[in-house]
Symmetry: C2
Subunit: 351 residues, 2 copies
């Protein structure tokens, strides 16, 4: 993707640690008046006023979570922020600040980090986030990004994973499986490129899938939409590891069971067609693909009218008593136990 | 130090990501009633009440910040927490929560991570910190620890780097240089050990130095002591990179100069004697050694009586007008410009 060999490339060691942080963060603007102090002291200072603070952190490792062969650095910076913001939205809260720490090996020139930070900056601008701190250091190999996101919410608005009740409806935003299939397409093109570097991939038919993989958007629209609908979910989680894994999290936290209806799972037509092309079952992809960054939540049945017909939401099932277990109800009306085959950074399927 | 080869060693992949987090954090207790939700949801929820929130983050990388040849994992866990808490104390604030993210290669067995977490747990217990979140993932090589610390303070108590005025006194807590010399001793013993694995190092004469390197304590006593003395520093920073570098930070943030008096720099007798043994200038070590985690602050001259004779504090200089520059005044009464030769994770001396 890039090498530290071209002309006009600046070695990181020329800048030093403090110089590097100053350089990379010089364009970052503080948006929130509640950010009392951002970068430049031992710590940032934030005023949460009447709100409760919501805090989440994620670590992205080269070779584990991303491959720079097909993930442009600007997109990687953007996506790193999205991954964290998505967790804040999943609390029905509003993210306001992030800290960004990176470890990089010396093979990365300054220009590579500028690309990475331009993606972070774009995400911060579009989602109205202040970058208030971080750490920059060298690594012995590869690139690693650790982001912590801070947000605020009124206590009565916060939605945990633990509040679902039997008979609650299970609802998902958007559609599922596209990010994973985008990754499959990119990996295939990368293999072709390795064999024939002159090949010109035509990614146009896969543009939606590739965009969902390379430039996912966190659902910042959902918390205000829920507020406008006067709808507070009983539980909520974001879909980072695949639908199946997230349903299991909600069920375990809430001590309930669930029935998920295969025919209700929202799939984009592009997912269906690429699954046919790859000869993969699209339901499996939706259940286990991951990285969709949609929101999954439960609502009281009495609130159904509030979401009925709303294109942002799809009712995909309902919660049951805990002892009924967690099942996928197939199109053939078979009940199959849900298992979490979610993408797992430690290399094992979750039970 | 350890290998993933012994009996009774558990491979990380046997547990999976969620199992691992649950396993490692099962003993962690929530202390603060303001920690509304800790580990186990998309994000933690914290109530800062009337206080402002203070947020800081640090990244520690194997082979860059620590060497497992002489850093036991339990100590590493403890120290990783201290590094972050020290930044919170440097704001004159009280740390209350941390998130802990780690990336580990598969060469680490579960038992190694248990050791690491036992050090984190001990630090959390002794410093009354809630571990409220984190992320655990694999790395392609080595161990990396990213910790974010959250604290609280009343707005009027927060001390920034930027408030020092000309004629303010420059004050440091504790003594300097011991952590760096502890590292020199450990590195020497490691070299001896490589040549002769049967050698039995006698570290007893160096116990203070080695402890300052392997098990530093953040100065949690200082903010309440300052409060008891009714003393609010005009600026403050913690000493992680060496005295010289930190003085320069205070001066640049406050737009002042400084005179540091060599004869006033507090050194433990063990530092003086080991510097003679290693034939290194002890002033250089205090100026550039780093990792002391003491606090450096400035006070109005009118507050001098409040610290006079207090064994926790040493007045080492005073601030000047910015155009007078930053100088070390030697025992021979020579003025030498201060330069930051601080320990630099990116491999370059800071200007």
């Amino acid at each position: 993707m890039f090498e530290n060999s071209g002309e006009n490339k600046t070695s990181l060691s020329e800048l030093g640690e403090f110089g590097l942080i100053d350089h990379l963060t010089q364009h970052f603007k503080i948006i929130h008046s509640t950010t009392i102090k951002g970068i430049g002291d031992d710590a940032a200072v934030i005023d949460f006023k009447e709100e409760k603070a919501v805090v989440t952190t994620d670590l992205l490792v080269e070779g584990v979570h991303f491959d720079l062969a097909y993930m442009p650095l600007k997109h990687l910076g953007y996506k790193s922020v999205m991954v964290n913001l998505s967790d804040v939205y999943a609390m029905n809260a509003k993210p306001k600040q992030i800290t960004v720490s990176i470890a990089v090996s010396s093979r990365f020139p300054l220009e590579a980090l500028e690309e990475l930070y331009s993606g972070i900056e774009l995400a911060a601008k579009l989602y109205k986030i202040d970058v208030v701190g971080g750490d920059t250091t060298s690594s012995t190999s590869g690139l690693l990004i650790s982001i912590t996101a801070l947000g605020g919410a009124n206590e009565q608005d916060i939605v945990y994973r633990s509040g679902a009740k039997p008979n609650d409806l299970l609802v998902v935003t958007g559609d599922l499986g596209a990010a994973y299939m985008g990754l499959q397409v990119l990996e295939r093109e990368n293999e072709v490129f390795k064999v024939n570097p002159r090949s010109q991939p035509d990614l146009e038919p896969y543009s939606y899938l590739v965009e969902r993989q390379l430039k996912p958007e966190a659902r910042q629209d959902i918390p205000p939409l829920l507020k406008a609908l006067e709808l507070k979910p009983t539980s909520m989680i974001d879909i980072s590891d695949g639908l199946s894994s997230e349903i299991i999290h909600l069920c375990k936290s809430s001590k309930v069971g669930a029935n998920l209806f295969e025919e209700k799972i929202p799939l984009d037509p592009a997912v269906i067609s690429v699954c046919e092309e790859f000869e993969i079952d699209s339901t499996t992809i939706a259940l286990s693909g991951g990285e969709d960054y949609e929101l999954l939540f439960t609502i009281d049945q009495g609130d159904y009218e509030k979401i009925k017909g709303n294109p942002n939401f799809t009712v995909i099932g309902h919660m049951t008593e805990e002892n009924e277990g967690m099942h996928l109800v197939t199109r053939a009306n078979q009940k199959i136990p849900l298992i979490a085959r979610g993408w797992n950074a430690l290399g094992k399927e979750e039970e």
